[in-house]
Symmetry: C2
Subunit: 183 residues, 2 copies
């Protein structure tokens, strides 16, 4: 696929805190490889990467600035020249300059990936789409965890992932695979 | 439950267009009854209702002002004294005065219900929570439809509903049942 300077890759919260034990049964074992390949491809193609990271408002969260869990996965480390946006809620657009940054570009095309599919990725994709941006999500460069239904029963992470993406597909974004992009 | 003047019931898109054939296999046959009971209870208790409706930007959508599908369900008809907000995207907060309206109230507590659980209700709940509001969703006063996974396989509407709510529960909102509220 053609990745140009208006193609914006937006990795969401690819931070080590998500490796901790409280997050159960992550799906997508290929996540790290796909994230790493997409970043490499973007850098080679001259696309723009805007890294989004989460600084939790909760002291007990591993995703809090200053804690080891705040750091990026090795596969998702930004270059010094790349933009980093720090957010405090799920959406990358609330309390940040992301909207202003994207509005200053000419017809940006957004490609989202990251953790977790159904929380921060989904929320950011929804707002991007509702703001009118051309929005894609990379299916196999997102990941999530088991969740509990309203009645307490377990929903497996792969089903959470698939159902979350089924709700976004066609309605808020295009759904692509890493292999669709790197070819 | 105590419903006071800072308790805001926000029915999302309870419009006849969703009765049309393109929307398949709606879950929650008790939806209409619960919506109707909650509205009645809110009115008797002195709570506030802010009705949200969708006016699609697509000419072919049944949810377009002027079409019969734009009208509210009989069970969700606003009173003349109640506020109606018209939106054009999924989120009730984008392109509307809802945020300003809620910010002008003293500690509002928000209760969301409506159609569809995983599209406009979920998007609006996510933003309400990210803006810092005390947010609840009424499980059995929401409804959705079958969706297609990224690989084309069908996800049944009840599973879409349960998975969408599992992703919101505890993270973006409290999940309540009609019977928790009306007691």
């Amino acid at each position: 696929m053609d990745i140009g300077k208006n193609s914006v890759l937006i990795p969401i919260d690819i931070q080590k805190g998500f490796m901790e034990g409280k997050y159960r049964n992550r799906n997508n074992p290929d996540f790290e490889r796909n994230v790493s390949e997409l970043m490499k491809y973007w850098r080679e193609s001259g696309g723009r990467i805007i890294h989004v990271r989460h600084d939790s408002l909760s002291e007990s969260s591993p995703l809090k600035a200053g804690k080891p869990g705040f750091n990026f996965f090795r596969e998702a480390e930004p270059l010094d020249s790349e933009t980093i946006i720090t957010k405090h809620v799920h959406s990358a657009f609330i309390g940040t300059d992301l909207l202003k940054m994207l509005n200053s570009m000419e017809k940006p095309e957004l490609y989202f990936m990251g953790i977790t599919t159904d929380h921060c990725v989904s929320t950011s994709v929804r707002m991007a789409s509702d703001y009118g941006f051309n929005t894609s999500l990379v299916y196999d460069a997102c990941a999530t965890f088991d969740r509990r239904s309203a009645d307490g029963s377990l929903i497996d992470s792969q089903l959470v992932h698939d159902s979350a993406i089924a709700s976004l597909k066609g309605e808020f974004c295009k759904v692509l695979y890493t292999r669709d992009i790197i070819s």
